[in-house]
Symmetry: C2
Subunit: 263 residues, 2 copies
């Protein structure tokens, strides 16, 4: 965790007066992604799992479909650069980059939408989950981020099955946290269908597209969704659960995947 | 507020079982900005103050410096388009768009950083504020967003003087909320120097650059900052106050602008 946070001497003001304390803050660093020798983008992110973030970003944005397309990945953590070469040395044109959509949400969220949107297909999974399993997963999720507990400055994401968290990530951006999950899944052949994704952030349209693209049937957030998030989840056959707090949750779409306990 | 939210029939699951309720959700819509007949970007945002958002975005990204440069603004709310023409019909090249940085933070945050960064100069303001004035402002700020209270799905931003909120905005993205403030300031000749900006979102590097560009000496957040946010605030002479809760606050940089009450 040392690498993910930084300490600053700050002044704490309360009713009782002021005191000098040491505050732990989430680190933010730039990460430049170079695809086939062309500089694609610089993300602002947390300084961990850079390789996963780069691969997840490229996959989310439609530049990369599977592991076999990757020839080489070089990570230069010192300079904040990930270079990725594909087997086919495809050049992307500046036109791909030109038409872009910038998401609202907490977290990065620029998207090359011409490339990215077409791939969102309806999720067919028949996976089901007990309400109680969701509460257990969210509880595990919320206790997994030391960085959040120390700084309150990062988002988290997790890929889960019915019983436990399989892949977990932190990032100052909610989009980055999810891309890190999917980058790891792609590189390490971890299946994503019939799985659950949990996010600490709000669920907007772009988050839904990311999740749909991986065939994930259930998305859970401890925050709220947007209207477009709800509509896309509905259209794409994804179960959207949000505002999970203690033993309460709101099920926005496709509630047939959730079985109330013992009922 | 009707326009900013949408109602969905959802299922609420609690320990006591499930019930069908109507949930109010923050609306998310696309907004395309066309600058001098060239499509620049599509933002995902809340459907209010589109003109302010477009102008604020163009100003934050360095495409627009002042009101006199604007020849005409046409807002098509139905289609989600803002067209802006400048007096000088300058074309932007695709190269401007090519090198871009994507911020971490909650809220949009793609930035054309080659254009945007150079303009951040040290803030010279000698403005001071009482700790108690900050608590009063934050309290007013937190009670100003009906949309947040109804949906928990939007961020807010406010421009204030020592005594009260002058300009207030909501958006599903924290960057958008701040750009709406600055768009309104630019169009309506509202000065920003010697003023305070309050945000509900985390303070990352890009937020700092936006604020520094308008010469604002004090930024306040009810959330946490990132390490780069703290460093840039320190370098640019900006007072950064974060994690304001009740009668407590953390002062990260340039605390000399804050006078503890009656001490």
């Amino acid at each position: 965790m040392d690498n993910e946070t930084e300490k600053f001497s700050i002044l704490k003001l309360t009713e009782k007066g002021s005191s000098s304390i040491e505050a732990e803050v989430a680190r933010e660093v730039p990460l430049t992604i170079i695809l086939n020798n062309q500089e694609l983008v610089t993300l602002l992110c947390s300084p961990t799992d850079s390789k996963y973030l780069a691969v997840g970003f490229l996959s989310s944005e439609g530049f990369l479909r599977n592991k076999d397309e990757i020839k080489r990945i070089m990570v230069d953590s010192e300079r904040g650069v990930v270079r990725l070469e594909t087997v086919e040395d495809k050049e992307f044109t500046k036109d791909v980059l030109f038409k872009r959509i910038i998401s609202s949400g907490c977290g990065r969220g620029a998207s090359f939408y011409s490339a990215a949107d077409a791939t969102s297909q309806k999720v067919q999974s028949q996976m089901k989950i007990l309400a109680d399993e969701i509460f257990v997963l969210v509880n595990e999720f919320q206790h997994s981020s030391e960085v959040y507990l120390a700084t309150h400055g990062v988002h988290s994401a997790a890929l889960c099955d019915n019983k436990s968290v399989l892949v977990f990530s932190n990032d100052i951006g909610r989009h980055n946290a999810i891309d890190k999950i999917f980058g790891k899944c792609l590189l390490e052949d971890i299946p994503t269908n019939d799985r659950v994704i949990i996010t600490s952030g709000r669920i907007s349209s772009e988050i839904l597209h990311k999740v749909a693209k991986r065939g994930i049937p259930i998305i859970i957030s401890i925050s709220a969704p947007t209207s477009l998030g709800v509509k896309i989840a509905d259209n794409l056959g994804i179960t959207l659960v949000a505002s999970v707090r203690g033993r309460r949750m709101n099920v926005y779409t496709h509630g047939w995947r959730i079985t109330p306990d013992g009922k």
